[in-house]
Symmetry: C2
Subunit: 156 residues, 2 copies
């Protein structure tokens, strides 16, 4: 089984440059607002709620209303720059945008850390199982499961 991990440790500058390049390629506008939202999500290094983002804007003296932030997040998601963790109501940076990918989101029940784990084995098992149930899944599927990360297991 081929297993390929991508950890959430891309440095912010690289992530920003990559996002900017990707948007330029596609003719999508990486506006200051969208850039700032992306930057905040990258810097957080962990999943954030939309309202946590709003709070960070407020720290900067900004004052956007919820729709402003939600719209930016939707743009970023549409371009694969962030993922929405539906089970957590949170948003997190994608570590390998521009590359369509399925996989698995592992979310720590204790510390909230999330790891996007690209694993063809899981994706394949999911598609096989879904087909057996008569379901057709999109190519990219990214289920979320809760567990304990290594650090939190060690700390009992």
């Amino acid at each position: 089984m081929h297993t390929d991990s991508v950890h959430g440790h891309t440095d912010p500058a690289t992530a920003l440059a990559r996002a900017e390049a990707l948007c330029r390629e596609r003719g999508a506008r990486f506006t200051p607002l969208r850039r700032r939202v992306f930057e905040l999500v990258v810097e957080a290094g962990q999943p954030l709620t939309a309202y946590e983002l709003l709070a960070r804007f407020a720290e900067d003296g900004g004052n956007p209303a919820p729709p402003t932030v939600y719209r930016a997040l939707e743009f970023l998601q549409a371009h694969g720059l962030v993922h929405r963790l539906a089970s957590q109501n949170r948003w997190v940076v994608c570590d390998h945008p521009s590359d369509p990918h399925g996989g698995l989101f592992l979310v720590c029940r204790t510390c909230g850390r999330a790891v996007e784990w690209a694993d063809e084995g899981v994706a394949q098992a999911l598609h096989t199982s879904a087909r057996a149930a008569g379901f057709q899944l999109p190519v990219e599927v990214l289920p979320e499961v809760e567990g304990l990360c290594g650090d939190c297991v060690d700390a009992h």
Copy 2:
């Protein structure tokens, strides 16, 4: 690979009897309120939001407030009688309570139908993948994925 499906077509009377028996065994109180909530979820035959449940109570002339319904749902969930679909903010009856089980929730993007699909292959792939990422998953893991059910695929 062993694949075992359980469809959402258990008849309401049977489901109720089973729930009642299960609670009696465990010394848990299957009160009228909890019974009614369970019955409504069973009858719906598809995932419901808590507020849809509240509306059905209202149809009956009842008037519970949100916490009342949420508490009943949490009780039912704790006893494995219903599952919460975190990605959908909905609740759905479990087709094989009393039997700890992992698997997969397949949710149709179009019609909203949800199928709980017990598949050891998926559960195993998830645990293997999670371990590789340093995560420890609970024994029962039930990720949710969105796709198209057979009917909705046929209807284009």
